[in-house]
């Protein structure tokens, strides 16, 4: 069920909110499409970063958030560029744990992250599942399960169904990490997508680590893009610390998929700039890596570029930040006001045919 209330609070579609987009548009020439894309993405990136900072501080403070917090710090450009090129309503987006920016770009309301982390009943997961596992499957956003690699085939199924239903022009994008590429599920799904020539765009975010495990213990090929040829799919490599590179990569890949050219794999290199979760200090990440090109903060890189090109000045950027902050405060407030789940008001049936619930099993 899509609960419209969740969306009513803060309306969100490729914008932080209507007023901030307005401000941006005013200060730009609309003719430059690349500039448009960069600035749109940058908003989502910034918003994602600030949301996750907020979640982290709530987590540290304790009380509100139960369980872990997982951030996409450093991955915002890659994720936002993917989301930006998708069309909600037409396309499918299967986000993974570090896709806050992509979710926003695809149109997920800011509110949903807080609702889900807090476990409110008005949130998309109603307290049944939490943190980054949220989604609205029938809105084209499957709700990830934890098992890495498992969502790719689900996205394949959504695409196959649309094709069987005679729909056209749609694509589906989903993410996987460097670690997730080692799962059997990843392999089966990518191969299946290739066999069915599905319009799948697979974003492989190589953030150098799977939890503590470095690439060297995860795979032995030179680049994960070398996997593409073995599946018979197109492969792209982008510098995921550079928003422009990400935009160019996904623009092309998503256009190809939309044009019927089959699955597209986009591999981005970056460094996870947070712990695996906020409980993790990531002491295992060597300084040399942090100081290398892959360790750059995509937000800083994007901001520098935006300023150097004169697309926004310090004041405009500060304004944007302020708009994000306000929006976040509003959403936190709203989510905090929402009811938490009541076990006595919960229907404890895992199936939709309630009459087929095996009641004798309900003992607790």
């Amino acid at each position: 069920m899509v609960r419209p209330c969740a969306r009513a609070a803060v309306s969100y579609r490729r914008s932080i909110n209507v007023s901030s987009v307005q401000q941006l548009t005013d200060s730009l020439s609309v003719s430059d499409k690349k500039r448009d894309k960069v600035l749109s993405c940058y908003q989502f990136m910034l918003m994602a970063r600030m949301m996750e900072e907020k979640l982290t501080s709530l987590y540290r403070a304790g009380g509100r958030i139960v369980g872990g917090v997982y951030c996409g710090k450093g991955q915002e450009a890659f994720s936002a560029a993917m989301g930006l090129h998708l069309m909600r309503g037409t396309d499918v987006f299967g986000p993974l744990i570090r896709d806050q920016a992509g979710r926003l770009a695809f149109g997920e309301p800011v509110l949903q992250a807080f609702q889900t982390y807090f476990g409110t009943v008005r949130g998309p997961m109603r307290g049944r599942d939490g943190n980054v596992h949220r989604g609205e499957p029938r809105e084209g956003i499957p709700a990830m399960i934890s098992h890495l690699g498992a969502m790719i085939s689900v996205v394949c199924g959504m695409l196959l169904a649309r094709r069987m239903q005679g729909k056209t022009g749609f694509v589906g994008a989903t993410s996987i990490g460097d670690g997730g590429t080692s799962t059997g599920s990843f392999h089966e799904a990518v191969n299946m997508a290739a066999v069915e020539k599905l319009p799948l765009v697979l974003a492989v975010a190589n953030n150098q680590f799977a939890y503590s495990t470095p690439n060297t213990s995860q795979f032995a090929c030179d680049s994960l893009v070398d996997r593409a040829i073995g599946y018979g799919v197109a492969g792209f490599e982008v510098d995921a610390t550079d928003l422009v590179s990400c935009i160019e990569g996904f623009e092309k890949a998503i256009a190809n998929a939309r044009a019927g050219e089959g699955p597209q794999m986009v591999v981005g290199s970056l460094l996870r700039l947070s712990g695996h979760g906020e409980h993790d200090d990531a002491a295992y990440v060597p300084d040399s890596l942090k100081q290398s090109a892959v360790g750059r903060d995509c937000i800083q890189v994007a901001q520098d570029r935006i300023q150097n090109l004169g697309w926004m000045d310090g004041a405009a950027l500060a304004k944007m930040e302020e708009a994000c902050r306000k929006e976040i405060e509003l959403c936190v407030e709203q989510a905090c006001s929402e009811a938490l789940p009541d076990p006595y008001a919960t229907d404890w049936s895992a199936i939709s045919n309630a009459h087929l619930t095996d009641t004798y099993s309900l003992e607790s």
Partner: protein, 319 residues
């Protein structure tokens, strides 16, 4: 019509009556499936019977995705035993979808199940008890030609994941001139044979072994009531208890491994909900706790047979 033909026909009916239905599995398209459960269907329904790569995990994942988009996929596992590599997508993806997101997950996963001579450890398994442990799935185990037909059709029509355990031993052996017009829904057990001496609760191919055992005991003057569970999740506990109320004695018989599973669940329910109905300790008969043997000499000792069931019944009646 055989049990297998009933399954094939149910596929055809489902495809004919519901445009959302499609079939996905290894070798199901042009070849019609290794057992011919989808024979000829591709011709009649082009594009709706699709060959899958050997990727059980992705097959189930794809079915879930298609279900999200409003389709009603039927996934054929080549053998139930191979569903083990699609296990995660079944129990963690398909089975949790509705509870987590309110999105129904109308997929049917067909598991050609159970032992046949010479099939060995990996082409013989009965996994109904495995999947029933997990919330979010229905698990059905048709034992008759009519049930194979009607329950498959109903499974496809239900808005939940259904694990359809069809027994390979019945594919060719079991025949019916016409489909029994008395159609029971999923979730209801059937009293196949009435009696007052003892209740045998069983399902799938073991129904026929139990009926043979019941006939053996008839000559000794015992009336054995035989209950076919039909669905093992949910279990029709009321019908089971009503039968035990009539007989006071319970034997649960299943073909799967002995630890846990349907038989344990039946004994647990009857002993806790129907304790005072019992005149003797409830008992059960399952296969042995080893992999399923290849050689028929071992196989016939491994799984319950009519003789072994008759012996267990005699023990039960002597209590």
């Amino acid at each position: 019509m055989t049990y297998l033909e009933a399954i094939r026909d149910a596929h055809a009916t489902a495809l004919r009556t519901d445009p959302r239905v499609f079939i996905y599995g290894q070798d199901v398209a042009g070849f019609g499936g290794p057992f011919k459960a989808t024979k000829g269907l591709l011709d009649e329904f082009p594009g709706r019977v699709k060959d899958a790569p050997i990727s059980e995990d992705a097959m189930v994942g794809l079915a879930v995705g298609a279900a999200i988009e409003g389709m009603r996929p039927i996934v054929e596992m080549q053998f139930a035993d191979f569903s083990s590599v699609g296990f995660n997508q079944i129990v963690n993806q398909a089975a949790t979808l509705y509870w987590r997101t309110s999105t129904p997950c109308p997929i049917t996963i067909r598991l050609p199940s159970g032992g046949t001579p010479g099939s060995g450890p990996f082409h013989s398994q009965s996994l109904e008890g495995l999947y029933s442990q997990f919330p979010g799935v229905l698990v059905v185990t048709p034992a008759t030609v009519a049930d194979a037909y009607h329950m498959l059709l109903e499974a496809v029509s239900l808005d939940d994941p259904v694990i359809f355990c069809e027994h390979k031993y019945l594919y060719y052996h079991l025949k019916a001139d016409e489909l029994d017009p008395e159609v029971l829904p999923i979730g209801k057990a059937r009293i196949v044979r009435s009696g007052t001496s003892a209740s045998v609760v069983t399902y799938s191919a073991m129904l026929h072994e139990c009926l043979a055992a019941a006939r053996q005991l008839e000559s000794d003057g015992y009336g054995i009531e035989v209950v076919d569970l039909r669905s093992v999740k949910p279990i029709d506990t009321d019908t089971v208890l009503a039968s035990v109320a009539r007989t006071g004695r319970l034997l649960a018989v299943g073909e799967s491994f002995p630890w846990g599973g349907v038989c344990a669940e039946i004994l647990a329910r009857v002993s806790s909900e129907g304790f005072h109905l019992l005149d003797a300790p409830p008992s059960r008969l399952s296969s042995k706790d080893t992999p399923i043997p290849y050689h028929p000499n071992l196989w016939t000792s491994h799984r319950p047979t009519a003789d072994a069931i008759a012996m267990a019944l005699r023990r039960l009646l002597a209590e």
